[in-house]
Structures are given as C-alpha cells and as structure tokens.
C-alpha cells in the first residue's frame, strides 16, 4: 500500500512539472561477459558437480552457452582430482567431499584460470525433526533441533517440501496414486534466532505464529554458541495431512552469502515491476575469481514426516 501511495503521489507531481522522459540503452559490449562457474558441494555426497557457462549479453534470448571440454580440477591440501565433462556445461568429479576440508576448484578457460574455494561444513549441529501439536488441535508444528558446535561460525538453513499426489487439473483427478510431487512450502516460526531478511508479518495466523518466512529460514549462530537450540516451524498447509519432507542444512560462508543475496535479489526483481521509478541495483554474491557464479558447500539432513507409507518412502532426486 505504501508503494501505491508513493506512486500516486509522485506521478502527478512529475506530470505537473512538465515531465520529459526518454528511454536509453546501455552499450554493454566490452563491459565484461565473464565466465560463470557454479557448483555446490555436499558433504559426503557423490559426485562433486560443477557447471561452466559463458554468460550472455543482457538482450540475448538464446539458450545458455555451456563451455565444453575445459580442463577442470579440484584441489585439497593433499590431493588433486580431475573433473570430467558430461553435458550441458556439467562437469563431475567422483569424490565425496569431507566435512572440514577445503576444496579449491580450478578451470582453464581461454588461457585464464577461473577458480574458487570452499570449506565443507559439518553436519554435527544438525539434529532431528519432531512433530508436536499446538494448543488448538488438530494443528501441528515441528521442532528442529540444532546442536551448535562451540566456536565455529555456523549458518543453518531450513526448508520444507509439502508432499502430495500429482494431480491432473484438466481431468480433476490423480495422475497416478504412486506418483508424488514435492513443492516448497512457506513456513512460520517464533524463533528469535532467525534472520528476518525474507520474512513477512502476518497477524492472522494461529497461536502467535505471525512471522512468515518465504520458503527459506536462515538461522546464523550469532545469538548462541555451542548450545542446543530448538527452532519451531509451523506450516499451515501441512498440518492436516502431515506429509512433509524437512531439510536442515549448514552452509559454508560463501553459499550462505550467495543464497541470502540471491533470494533478496529475486524478491527485489519481483517488486521492480511495481515500483519502476525507484530503480536501484541489486547484487548477487560471487566468490569466483576471474569469473562469476558461486562455488559453495553444505551439509544437509532430510527427514520425512508422514502417516502415509507412500510418502514415507519418497526419494528425492
């Protein structure tokens, strides 16, 4: 509403003052089309995957152009592993990254070395997810347990999928009883430790769950160190069916900054359509040298809570 008022306020004023407006285009030629290196390593998970692309001109509507056949390798203090190219800019390396180790990726592209590094976080702090009930039955909420490591800078992230049967809206029936789909769900929390960078105030929810997080809940350990902390999460859509797949993760510092900046940026782009005169840039974090993109890592745990055996056995790709 505030935006609307401002727009209504500013526009007549501008018109009154005999406004002149003109469009202009920037010549971005030669201003830099960097190589893009994107990869998120997961502790203990095979294989390590990294994507390599050419970035595109702003007006380019063609498909992304992958970089094929580049020389790419992964270094640790002791070892060096080589990546193999598969398809669509995807390079894989058959190792399972270990928590606490630092990995540096390097790619030779056109004579330049594009590189970045990440230290794999530990999953020690990631506890369990349990179901509880609110005072007003049958509504439920979930408790996520963090056992924070002392003197380690941890960034915890939570998100949840709502599990449902796939539905064919054209015929208004199930596609197949065995076919399950997972959709990211919005969540509410009362935790004082959450970073409220993408949250909304909603006074009409149950039992004081007034802070709504837009798909992701970030809990940096700035307010606690080496303690056990319980993060409570309420999902309005999951309460009746109790079919949810819960993710608890620890992100390394680069991936944490990237995700926070990207989600803010994505939210900002949506609002730009409404409030065009407040053009203001937004930036997405990158730790890639001689290029752009993100090379980060995480440790993740997932838990399915459901009464339905079909959902209990759901395997996420």
């Amino acid at each position: 509403m505030q935006k609307k008022v401002l727009v209504v306020l500013v526009i007549p004023l501008i018109l009154f003052l005999i406004s002149c407006e003109r469009e202009f285009e920037f010549d971005t030629t030669g201003r830099g089309n960097p190589v893009v290196l994107n990869g998120i390593l997961e502790a203990g998970s095979l294989p390590a995957t990294v994507f390599l692309y050419h970035s595109q001109e702003m007006g380019d509507t063609s498909n992304i152009s992958p970089i094929e056949g580049a020389t790419m390798w992964l270094e640790t203090a002791e070892d060096k592993y080589t990546f193999e190219y598969t398809d669509s800019g995807r390079y894989i390396c058959n190792i399972a990254p270990q928590s606490g180790k630092t990995y540096r990726v390097k790619a030779l592209v056109g004579g330049d070395t594009v590189w970045a590094e990440t230290t794999i976080p530990s999953d020690t702090g990631l506890g369990c997810v349990t179901l509880d009930t609110l005072e007003i039955r049958p509504w439920c909420y979930y408790k996520m347990d963090i056992n924070d490591e002392k003197e380690v800078d941890n960034k915890y992230w939570f998100w949840v999928y709502e599990l449902n049967y796939k539905w064919d809206y054209r015929v208004d029936s199930l596609i197949d009883e065995s076919d399950v789909e997972a959709r990211l769900a919005t969540m509410y929390s009362k935790t004082p430790y959450a970073d409220r960078f993408l949250s909304y105030y909603d006074p009409n929810t149950l039992s004081g769950y007034t802070v709504n997080y837009d798909y992701f809940l970030r809990v940096p350990d700035d307010g606690f160190d080496g303690e056990r902390v319980i993060v409570d999460v309420y999902h309005p859509n999951l309460s009746s069916g109790n079919n949810g797949m819960f993710f608890m993760a620890a992100f390394d510092k680069h991936y944490d900054k990237y995700m926070k900046s990207y989600l803010t940026y994505d939210d900002y782009l949506g609002r730009m359509d409404e409030l065009t005169i407040y053009y203001q840039p937004s930036f997405v974090y990158s730790n890639v040298h001689n290029g752009t993109g993100i090379f980060g890592s995480m440790a993740v745990k997932d838990t399915i809570i459901s009464d339905n055996p079909l959902f209990q056995n759901y395997q996420y790709d």
Binding site: M1, V5, I14, R31, E42, F197, I277, Q280, F283
Partner: protein, 774 residues
C-alpha cells in the same frame, strides 16, 4: 587524560585573566538586528569576530581606538573611555544607498589569519539574488553552488558535502538540528529565505563546538526581527506565497519576526473540486511557519524563543456512489522545532548561551475506508503507518576571551533522542486497534567540548580542541574522543596556508536508497547491532587576497569514514512494512573521500560573484559486496564547476527602479548507476530445482557498484531583478531557468528490460513578485 587537557587549557588562560577587555554587540542601525561575523579590531593589531549573537570581546583598554567592519556596512570607529566595564551596543549603517556590496580589507585579513578553514558564508541577500527553479529562492540550493557541495538529483535541495551522504551534514536552525530539510520531495528546502539572516557551511577543520555528524555542519540563523519599526512583506512565486511581519514589541528591547510560506496552486485546485462536486480529489501542498521573539532583559541578558513548524500533505479522496465505499488517504510529513535560549554576559570576558530545544520529525500514512451503502452496519477500517524522531536537549556554550593570545570556547550538551522508525496499526469493525509493528529505540548522549584559538606567533594561529561524546544505549555506555586541530600560517600580508584535522562521531543515520529525497527515508540510531559511525577529516589549503578585490583559495581534503551504513542491496523502506527491524536489512562498511576545491570570489564593486571548481572522489566498501573492495559512492562527482555572478546597474537616485542581473551556471559529472552487463543462470543446492515449482530467474551480472556514469549535468539560469525605489517597495524577478533546455535527468527507472530517465526541469520561466510594506 581529559583532566590533563583541561588543566593545560586552564594554565594557559589563567595567565591572561588580568588583562583588560571591552565587549558588546554589533547591530544593524536600522533594524537593531545583530551582525553575525562582524570584525572588531583595535589600532593596527589583529581583531576578533562577533559571534552568532553579534557579541564580541576584545582585549583593549582606555584610549585604544577600536574599529568595526562588516560586509556592506560603513566602517565604525571609536575610542574607548571607561568602557571596559560596560556592554557596548555598536550600531552600524549599511551601504545600501551606494548600490554596492563592499568588503573591507580588515575582514579579509582576519579571515586569512584565522585557523578556521573550509568555511563558506552566505547572506540572505546573496541567496535572494540567485535565480532558482520555479522562481523560489532557496537556502539549500544556494549552498549547492559552493565548492565541495553536491545535490542528489537536479532541482532537489538535499546536500552532499565532500562526498558524504546528506545525513552526514549537521543542519542547525537556531542551534536546533533539523532532520528533514525537504518540502515536496526535495524540490524546496524547509528553510524560508525571508526568515534566515545567515548561513554558514563548515566543511574543513570542524571546531570542537560542533559534533554529531561525520562530514560538515550547516549552521543557519534566523532573523531576530526589527527592533525599531513594524515591517512586513509579501511575495508570490510560481509555487508559493510568502508573508513576513516583524517589528518591536518593546522598542529597542524586544522584537518579533513571523514568516509564513504556503503553496498556492492547491488552493484553486481545492475550489475546483468543491464546485465541480468531483468524486475524486487529489491535492498536495505544504506550509511552514518561522517565528521568533527576542527580549533584551538587561544589557547583560537576552532571551530568544524560536519556533518552526512545517508540514507537507498529500490527500487522496474517493467518494463514488456506485462503489458504495469512501476512501480517504493521507500522506503527511513535517518538522516541529522550538528553542529557548538565554544569553548572559558574566563578565566582559565571559559570554554564555544556554539552550534548550525540541525537534520532531514525523511522517504518517493514513488509509481510511468506510462503506456508504444502505447496510445498517457500516464497514470501516483504518490503517496507519508512521515514523518519527524526537530530539530533546539542554546545552550550555561559553565564549571566554581572556584578551591575550587565547579565545576559548567550551560547553556541554545532554541530548535524548527517541526513534520510532516504523509503527503500523490497523483497526476495523471487528477488531480494536492493533499495533502491527512497533520498532522503537531511545538513546541518550552527553557531550563536552573545549577549544582554544591560540595566537602562537604574530603570523601563526591555531585552534586546538577536544570533544568527548558519551553514548548511552540501554545499559551500555560508550565514550568517543574527538580531537580537533587547525593551523593558519600567514606567509605574507595577503597569503596564508592552513591545515586541519578533525575526528567526528555520528550516532544517528538516515537510511535512503532513492535519488529523490523521500519523506519516509528512515532516521535510525546506533544500537547494539549497528555501531556509531566516525570519520577522520584531513584538510589543507592556501588562500590569497588580491588588492582586496579578488579572493582566491585552494583546499585539498581527505576523509576516512568508518561504520557507514546502507540498505542491504535489493531492500528498502517498503520492506519494513512487514514489521522487521530496520537493522535486519542494513550493511555497515567504510568510506573514503578526497579532492581539491578552487574558488575565486569577488565581493566588491557592481560586479560580484564567485566561480569554483571541485575535483573529488568518494568511495564506499561493504564486506558483503564484491569482497569488500572500494567502489564509487552514489555521490562520487569527480568534476564540478559552479559560477554565480551578479551585476548591479548604476542607480542615479531618480529612476523608479534599481536594476540588477544575475546568472548561475552549474556543471558536474553525471550521476552513477549500477547497471547489469550480462546474465547467467542461478544455481541452487541439489534439492531445489525448477521441477519443484520454485523459480530460478537469471542472475543479472553487475561487475561493480555504480559502474555506469550518466551524461554530464550542466545548466545556465539568468534572472533580471527590478526593485522599486518609491514609497511602494515592490520588486520583480524575471528570468529563465535552464536557458538552453539541457535534458538533465532527475531520476531513473527500469521497465520492460530497458532503462529510462526522466528530466522534470526543462527550460522554464522565472517570475517572482515581492511587496514590502513600510
């Protein structure tokens, strides 16, 4: 440490207490108002300047000849006989009838000798003569003509001094900080030029008596009002009407000044809506009121009561019968300030001013809806969104002039600031009023300062000082030491060099991200999460006077800023609608600014004016952006040229009008924008992909913050002034703003993947009429 410093000052000063002084006030003979900055000197030795109340004190005894000079006034000379125990009232005659603005050699010499640097003064007359947008003379837009000062976008009144953000300049009106200086989104400043007597911009070595901001101080003093005659004036410009009344309450003892300004186009617009019985009404207007009452209780005591109130309001009403609802939306903002000051002359060596003040800035958005249908129960709702800042303070300032080599100022201040950055409430038929969000904070700060202007040798002067600020936030207490020093070395009669260093601390910040000055740019305070900002300012300059006709100066500066704040990229004030704390969406970083300023002034003769050139850079670095590397800041304007000239035509004493012509020229490097140059797909962790109905927009790659500079800005304005000389004292100004119609963009937008720019001030006429009643 502090006790040693105070002891040191005490020791120096105590050697001089036995010397003789004369003291008094320098006043305009016609109005009785003080002449701020008048030069007072004895025989051929160096002198002193009258302070902002017109008070001076100088070491002089019986039979000493004393001279007083002031720009535009005839020099006043007298010989002192038994005047060391009394307070003198020196009444100076202006040079009005000679049609020339003059400046005396003595005041120039005093400036060259003074360790003050980076100071620019403007008088009300200079401000009035400058051609301005929409014909409205404006204090802050005149200040933008000075070297080292930039504005946010064309036509707006906000100022950036030496690469700092607008909130890093302390703006004082009669010693009261003013937090919102803009009417109409910055196209007018809140300062009515009819009510202002002097404007001082301090941006180099900042003396200890000033504190609370990082880069500069703009000190405005309002007029006292005429102590002898009742006078009034009325003026009408393209947007606003101004009326001023002033006069004695008790002749020579007490005076008042009342000045009111109001936009006028909204008045016929309201009338149109009324007679047309329109279902829709949209109006905008502002007003402000300056009032001041002064009372000379005795020769040694004066009391001042100052008051300011200004408001802007945008109203939007819809009353459509077929919709069966009536909407009434209001968006309003404004300042209220009040101060009570008491001057007391303890002895002719010790002058004191005690001030208590109140300053409030608030904005409010109110959306009211009521059903108008036939239903028995009317549906109603009221949503309010507001923000405010209240500042209350007590302070005491002392000028101690022992009469020898020292001029000491010291004082203390206790201030309490209450912030309410965001408050939202909602009420309807079904629920009582609920506060949706209430993010408030209070801080208390205490300051003490001392500074001493020391004449080390005949040609070497220094100002050494220390300001100590204590911030109480909750149960925490933090102390900030701010040393200040400046030196002036007079190399020859007409040449001096100066250098200075100042450390400044700032506890309040303004969060903004639009080039426009929005009323809901939030004022916030340092707290346990956001550290106070501080700066180290270094400056040096050389000053030359050529035959008392031209003054030339060159100053270089370097500023280092710490803990400056900005919004997290992609967020803004609209993101606080949902009740989060403002500090959830800000970053803290550091800044650097450096540059050089060159100024040529001519203040004598029919042809007066100045031209200046500024080369400057301003950089910022935030750890979360581009690995903390420095990037150009929004106010990084490498090149700026300003020229303001005025020519008074010869007046033969018989013509019906005095005529003058004035012109302003501005050039500055284009504004900066951050522009994406490439795009690429975003990546998420392996468990989130498009298949899960979660969007994955491209990332727009912006290689650096502020990587694109827009077209250079330049503009020429000309005005022709006619001032009637008969019994009816009316004056006209005719002119042209942006005479060659340069497209100077005021703001930018992004639509359909394309940037666009908007310029709202093409070539425009200037017409202003002013009527003075005797």
């Amino acid at each position: 440490m502090i006790k040693y410093i105070f002891f040191f000052f005490f020791l120096i000063i105590s050697f001089q207490v036995l010397s003789q002084n004369i003291s008094g006030y320098v006043l305009d003979s016609e109005s009785g108002e003080p002449l701020i900055g008048a030069t007072v000197y004895k025989n051929n030795s160096e002198g002193t300047t009258a302070n902002k109340y017109g008070y001076f004190s100088i070491g002089a005894g019986n039979a000493d000849s004393v001279f007083v000079s002031y720009v535009g006034y005839q020099e006043y000379a007298f010989t002192c006989h038994d005047c060391s125990d009394s307070v003198l009232f020196i009444k100076m005659k202006s040079y009005n009838e000679l049609d020339e603005v003059t400046v005396t050699s003595r005041s120039i010499q005093n400036e060259l000798r003074s360790p003050s640097m980076g100071i620019n003064r403007m008088t009300a007359r200079q401000i009035e003569q400058m051609p301005m947008v929409l014909g409205e003379s404006d204090v802050l837009k005149s200040v933008q003509m000075l070297p080292g000062v930039n504005n946010g976008s064309e036509g707006t009144a906000g100022i950036s001094v030496r690469g700092g953000s607008p909130d890093q300049t302390l703006i004082l009106l009669d010693d009261v900080p003013v937090y919102n200086v803009n009417h109409m989104f910055g196209y007018f400043s809140v300062f009515n030029s009819d009510a202002i007597s002097s404007v001082n911009l301090v941006k180099g070595a900042i003396p200890s008596r000033y504190g609370g901001r990082l880069t500069s101080v703009l000190d405005l003093t309002s007029r006292d009002g005429n102590y002898r005659k009742l006078k009034s004036s009325l003026s009408m410009g393209t947007m606003a009407l101004k009326a001023t009344v002033e006069g004695p309450i008790i002749k020579e003892k007490a005076s008042f000044m009342l000045s009111v300004r109001k936009t006028w186009p909204d008045i016929p617009l309201r009338a149109y809506y009324y007679f047309a019985e329109s279902d829709y009404t949209t109006t905008y207007g502002f007003y402000d009121v300056n009032a001041k009452v002064n009372y000379r209780v005795s020769k040694k005591d004066r009391i001042f009561l100052s008051f300011y109130k200004g408001d802007d309001a945008f109203k939007d009403r819809v009353d459509e019968s077929y919709e069966e609802y009536k909407y009434d939306n209001t968006f309003s903002w404004g300042n209220n300030t009040a101060s009570l000051r008491w001057n007391h002359v303890f002895t002719n060596k010790l002058f004191a001013n005690f001030t208590s003040y109140y300053s409030l800035y608030k904005y409010k958005k109110r959306n009211y809806m009521v059903s108008t249908g036939s239903s028995s129960e009317k549906e109603k709702s009221l949503e309010e969104h507001s923000s405010s800042l209240t500042d209350i303070a007590l302070k005491a300032d002392f000028d101690y002039m022992p009469g020898g080599i020292n001029k000491v100022k010291f004082g203390a201040k206790l201030s309490r600031k209450a912030f309410l950055p965001v408050e939202e409430s909602y009420v309807n038929n079904e629920s009582a009023r609920r506060i949706l969000s209430d993010v408030s904070g209070n801080i208390t700060s205490a300051d003490i300062y001392i500074e001493d202007e020391i004449s080390i040798a005949h040609n070497l002067n220094a100002n050494v000082g220390l300001r100590t600020s204590v911030l109480f936030s909750g149960f925490d207490k933090n102390v900030y030491w701010q040393p200040r020093v400046s030196l002036a070395w007079k190399l020859a009669r007409d040449v001096s060099v100066k250098a200075g260093y100042s450390r400044m601390a700032q506890f309040v910040h303004q969060l903004t991200n639009s080039g426009l000055s929005m009323p809901n740019d939030l004022w916030v305070t340092s707290n346990n999460v956001i550290n106070p900002s501080y700066s180290d300012l270094y400056s040096a300059g050389v000053y030359y006077n050529h035959n008392d006709l031209f003054q030339v100066s060159a100053e270089a500066y370097y500023s280092k800023l710490s803990n400056v704040i900005c919004y997290y990229p992609g967020t803004d004030f609209t993101k606080l609608d949902d009740g989060r704390n403002w500090y959830d969406i800000v970053l803290q970083g550091k800044g650097e600014a450096y540059g050089a300023e060159f100024m040529l002034e001519k203040n004598k003769g029919r042809f007066t004016g100045f031209v200046n050139y500024t080369w400057s850079r301003s950089l910022r670095s935030y750890p979360e952006l581009y690995g903390g590397t420095f990037s150009p800041y929004d106010y990084d304007i490498p090149h700026k040229i300003s020229a303001s000239v005025n020519y008074n035509f010869k007046y033969n004493g018989e013509a019906k009008f005095k005529k003058s012509i004035s012109a302003n020229f501005n050039f500055s490097s284009g504004r900066l924008l951050s522009v994406a140059t490439a795009k690429f797909p975003a990546i998420f962790h392996p468990s989130v992909s498009d298949e899960n109905n979660w969007h994955s927009d491209d990332v727009y790659y912006t290689p650096k913050v502020n990587n694109y500079r827009m077209d250079n800005f330049h503009r020429l304005d000309i005005a022709f002034n006619l001032e009637a000389t008969g019994n009816i004292k009316s004056s006209w100004t005719f002119g042209v703003y942006n005479i060659y119609n340069k497209f100077n963009a005021t703001h930018f937008g992004f639509r359909n993947n394309k940037m666009y720019e908007v310029a709202i001030f093409p070539v425009m006429p200037i017409i202003t009429w002013k009527y003075k009643l005797k």
